[in-house]
Symmetry: C2
Subunit: 419 residues, 2 copies
Amino acid sequence: MNHVLVRLRGFEKLTTIEEAKKTFFKRLEMDILENVKISLKEALNRVIAEDIIAGKDLPPFDRSAVDGYAVKAQSTFGVSQFNPKKLEIVNGPIIGENQAVEIWTGNPLPEGANAVIMLEYGRKINAKIVEVWKPVAPGDNVSKRGEDIRKGEIVVKAGTRLKPHHLGLLAALGFVAVKVLRKPRVAVLATGNELVEPGKTLTSEQVVEVNRIILSGLCQQLGCEAVDLGIVRDDLEEITSRIQKGLEIADIVITTGGTSVGIKDLVPEAVNKLGKPGVIVHGIAMRPAMPTALGIVQNKPIIVLSGNPVAAMIGFEVFAKPLILKMLQIPTLEIYALKAKLTRKVSSVLGRRSFLRVYAYMENGEFYASPVRVMGSSILSTMSRANGYIIIPENRGGLEAGENVTVYLFNYLGGKEDV
Amino acid sequence: MNHVLVRLRGFEKLTTIEEAKKTFFKRLEMDILENVKISLKEALNRVIAEDIIAGKDLPPFDRSAVDGYAVKAQSTFGVSQFNPKKLEIVNGPIIGENQAVEIWTGNPLPEGANAVIMLEYGRKINAKIVEVWKPVAPGDNVSKRGEDIRKGEIVVKAGTRLKPHHLGLLAALGFVAVKVLRKPRVAVLATGNELVEPGKTLTSEQVVEVNRIILSGLCQQLGCEAVDLGIVRDDLEEITSRIQKGLEIADIVITTGGTSVGIKDLVPEAVNKLGKPGVIVHGIAMRPAMPTALGIVQNKPIIVLSGNPVAAMIGFEVFAKPLILKMLQIPTLEIYALKAKLTRKVSSVLGRRSFLRVYAYMENGEFYASPVRVMGSSILSTMSRANGYIIIPENRGGLEAGENVTVYLFNYLGGKEDV
């Protein structure tokens, strides 16, 4: 019964977020995700597995960026609407200063030409003569060879999440398929005797389980495949075997609930039962999500989150998101952030890093962050009113109204009227 | 041949972005998208079709937020580690000041209790006695009835794009399915004799078509279904019949190319051939994307974008995105924005609103915007180096280094090292 007594004593020591992440990532030796080759058309938001090096210059030659007349720029010096100039239309290279070649967008620039006059600034008098009235400088309306991409250049780096413009760039280089990383599989388990599926009639002892749909959504947003491990009762054997199942079918296991220091908080013990090293960190100097634990079993990470939905989301943001990005070899943080003026004073607890939900909005071109609720970690509806969070550092007991804070957005910016 | 002469004259008048949008939206009478009922598990990023009003309080009664001992708070006043207090463990309602009820997370608070002491701050001496050493205030560790959601409250508004926390909130209210708007169908057509599909061997006259994959991706990101209308040559009949096909199968048609004032710029004419009112606006006081046109045929919107990929993307952002959000009845702008210091001077053209691509990054907690390239609209690779854009207003000929600018992000913030 010793372990029970230990649990009942509370967290003897809280680990800082940085320490926890450092220790966890240092001990974690994950398998590398396999590459899969998929059609470029299916590759939106997937993570490219290799550096893409341009095999050619783009454009491959100097070409016209418009429909018009290729000329030697000096032929047009001094022309204007009041002083138009007639040029001879030729087919071949431009030799003389008074020659022009009809050209369409994308066509190679004919030899001798160094600029293009747009069609609307010329008037064809007959098949052989065009009158122009707008001067051009050398290079005007010309896409220079290699101007967009140079042969040998890395155009998309491994670890890039492919956005629409990346797809365009890859298409321009001739790609129709691309190697991406397989989606990480994240198994999500909820624990708790009180939990039931939504849609059921509840007894007074029951609570609807909401963490799996929230965490699965967060995983999907990051490009993972979420695997549902269901709900399990506060029973050590059941929890252990369900986590084991998760380890078999997924790359990451995330649990919620049963991670504090109460008699029913059996998840850390279940993780330890499954193998070494087991739980690496338990108890983080943060608010909410203090009871979060991080474990490793069979070389696979297990993120043990609080049962409170808001604490689970913050715990996910702080620990699971960096883990998933690391697994996807994405070097950036994938954040949207801004500086905003805090609309009112807030307080927090010294020695804990506090994550405070705010509603960030733009008014007259300025940004404001309105704290949605200061206390409590179980209040799900605050997450729907908030679109971001701010961090109150460990050494501050609160923040003043009007302070400039960095807001990390998990949803779009709002307008004042949405508050 | 009159229409050709008109085209060759160039844009006689440019319309401001605001005027263009106002005129366009005023004349547009779109059909409302149908609702579809889908499983909550499939509803991530879909747009909810109706206000969700809470049918009950959440929690439905005062309940414990932790595992521990329900008490009258006043029983604990004055207790400490050096002055613990023994309480009698009872089952029923709490009558006396020295009584406690063992309670688990989610359980209803027993009658007479108004706070809960966490398990770790009590020590059970035997089945009947617990010793506690942490005082609680009334309400501590209690989730009050209706604290999260009040019966009758609108918890999710129609027009909300459902994020993970919305799904959690809906699940908490017992929803397993939800009515969402059908995905808008956007048909995307590329026009241009020079265009070929990626992966083909190119002649010197040919250019890989990249706009459809880019615009389809942008549509998908906004929750639309993109329908591919392929590539069509610069031929009035072909363009007309392909747009007609788009009008039959989609809610919105987007074209690229053939929208300037050259002899091959046939798209606006094709739109006009298809019916009234046809082209509403053509030629916008903006840079890039000046030749953008907006049309309405058969009550359906047609967005005629430039053939330059970057201009097409900016045109999409300025005109197609608000249209799609309007169709989805989403009241917000769905933007991520921040204020950043411009790292160097940039110039622009007076009288045009300029959209300048920047790379926005965070360094030592401050935000900077580094202009990626000032001139040119066809440079696709700049879009991959940029993660946002800034707007230079019509009345400025440029911006100074160090100016505070508003950056609109289309991708995540970066770090300095990514520049």
